[in-house]
Amino acid sequence: MTDVAQPGGVPLAELLDEARRHELPPPEVAATIAEQCMRLGDHAEAFSWSVRVATLDEDYASWHRARRVIDDALDAGHEPQKRRSLRLAVLGSYTTSQLVSMVELVAWSRGIELDVYESGFNQYQQEILDPASGLYEFEPDIVLLAVEEMAAQLPHWSDSPSDAVAAETERWDSLWKAIEGRCGASVIQTNFVPPVDDAFGHIGRRMPGSRNTMLRELNRTLGEAAGDSVGIVDCERLAAIAGAAHWFDHRYWFLAKQGVSLQSLPLLSKHIVAVISGLVGLARKCLVLDLDGTLWGGVIGEDGIEGIALGHGPAGEAYLAFQDFVLALKERGVILAICSKNDHDRAMEPFEGHPDMRLKASDFAIIVANWDPKPRNIEHIAQMLDISTDSMVFVDDQPAEREAIRRALPEVDVIQLPRDPSGYVAALGAYPFFEVGALTDEDRARTDQYRSRAQAKEAELSADSIEDFLSSLSMRAEVAPVDDLHLARVSQLVGKTNQFNVTTRRHARSAIAAMAADPDHDVFYLKLTDRFTDHGLVGVCITKQDDPETIVIDTLLMSCRVISRTAEHTIFDHVVSLAHKRGCRRVVGTFIPSSRNEIARDVFARYGFSLAAGRPDGEAIWELEVADAPNPNPYIDIS
């Protein structure tokens, strides 16, 4: 029995509706759903919504609630799927309970079950040095040293700063070696965040003996000492992300020895789990990128090489900066791949001829540009590179493509790009799970190896059904005769659409207006929305009644951005209904090949037209008996 009348108890259906209104739900909504599922006794759903919270915005209160539900679900006997179980010992110089519970939450969201041992408050040194301590009895796989800056034994001021820093580096290094020597566990340490309140102020940076300057130097020397064996979680950077003033809250330190503010714990935990994942070989290997709207602005197939935004202007510079960041990821060993809805030759044009492209075709292990559904292409890429899809990360500016991957391949990490390309670097930069245990020269040359592998391998595309995806989009179309309000957009599309355009007839605006007024002609448009995006006016069709029995399609075109959404089916449905109204029994369509409309070639055949004259590979006349028309499009509702 659920007690929805209880204060704060919103019915589950309402919560799910609220969650569906967002591409990614707010964390508090997901946490509430998890709680309600738990109350309803659905432990599996409760668990899955809880771990989902750790993939959403970093809100400690929600994450804490999700963490409670996980405990409850496990207590109730739920057995989640997991990729790995690890024994983690956490040795803290501060109260680590909240940190541990967040780390466990993130670990579950990565399929890792942690068995955790926590040392007493500020007992890390004793635990490490005493061979009979609980630490060694626990036999950890990984030891996390969670320490805040007060644990660094450095004075406010030192007359011999290099000695002081060397001695402190040596102290930590010998603690690491003691752990490795006694139990063989891998060690991870969080480094030090120089406090924002610096008595030495700016002059401190000119004085190597001031404490904050020594702390910075200590972070550097610790990194050097860590080498390939010890994992470092760079809290100095994390504090910069969170805002150093928010990283530490004095009130919580005095009250409860919280060395990191509660609001920063989700961020820290995510990065700790990323470093753990790297150490145990669960790093993500491959970054799959879209092209149009992701690596450059605009659509190469429509705008051409001169028309895309890249290199100049605010948007062009933003895309360039993003390419630069992607290139840096490649240099640290991330394999790059492309998955784009495009004609392959057109997709390659910027790589071959755009002077501002920072990424070269040779930077990618594989480039897949076709019109197949992206989930199928991602599986194809995985096959060709011989990696598993759970080591892949997908980046696309289109929410619907992201949703398609989330549904079909939930094991792929999907990065949500903001609308504005100036935010792309931050969105990708915030993603932590490329972290690896160590980086060799060989790792950094990885893309080249994988490219040869892909070239050597032929693989069949695996079949995949997209019906569920299409249904999930909740698409709605408005189909209506063109009016003054829409004439400009309609004639713009008639003038510039190259790819999905069966006749490529460039009627002038005045000619379109004349046809719209002519009783024998119908000029109508299609507007499309889905649950993520209002695509606007994206389809145009012009028909003419040629004789009492026949309607002829003069023009049928669609903007590239809605290709593969079945909108053409809806346009044909409307043509069929016009035929009914006019008492015609036949619809005739023409396909006139151009250098760019290959994708529209089979549109008549797919709806059920049969070839009446011409060749399937050249200019062709297609006919449909109205009585033989298929059922109306099941995926797009008409509004």
Binding site: P7, G8, E35, Y60, A61, H64, T95, S97, L255, Q263
Partner: protein, 80 residues
């Protein structure tokens, strides 16, 4: 929703969804309301109501009534 109801909602989120609270409930009455939970509770109340407790208030807000009273004062002072 009244302030008390909102506060009880936060208490339930942090301490347990089946619990009932009134002004007389204090930390010693609730098994899970230990010093660790108290820290998370203070944080969650601050977030929910957009206020900040003074450090010295933390320790003495270990009953629902005291918490509600200080909350009311702070929200009044903020003109809310």
């Amino acid at each position: 929703m009244t302030l008390a109801n909102r506060l009880h909602g936060v208490l339930r989120q942090v301490l347990g969804s089946n619990l009932e609270f009134d002004d007389t409930t204090s930390a010693s009455d609730i098994e899970g309301w230990d010093s660790l939970a108290h820290v998370t509770l203070m944080f969650s109340v601050e977030q929910e109501f957009g206020i900040e407790f003074a450090g010295e208030e933390f320790a003495r807000l270990e009953s629902v009534g005291a918490l509600r009273k200080v909350l009311e004062e702070k929200l009044d002072a903020a003109g809310g």
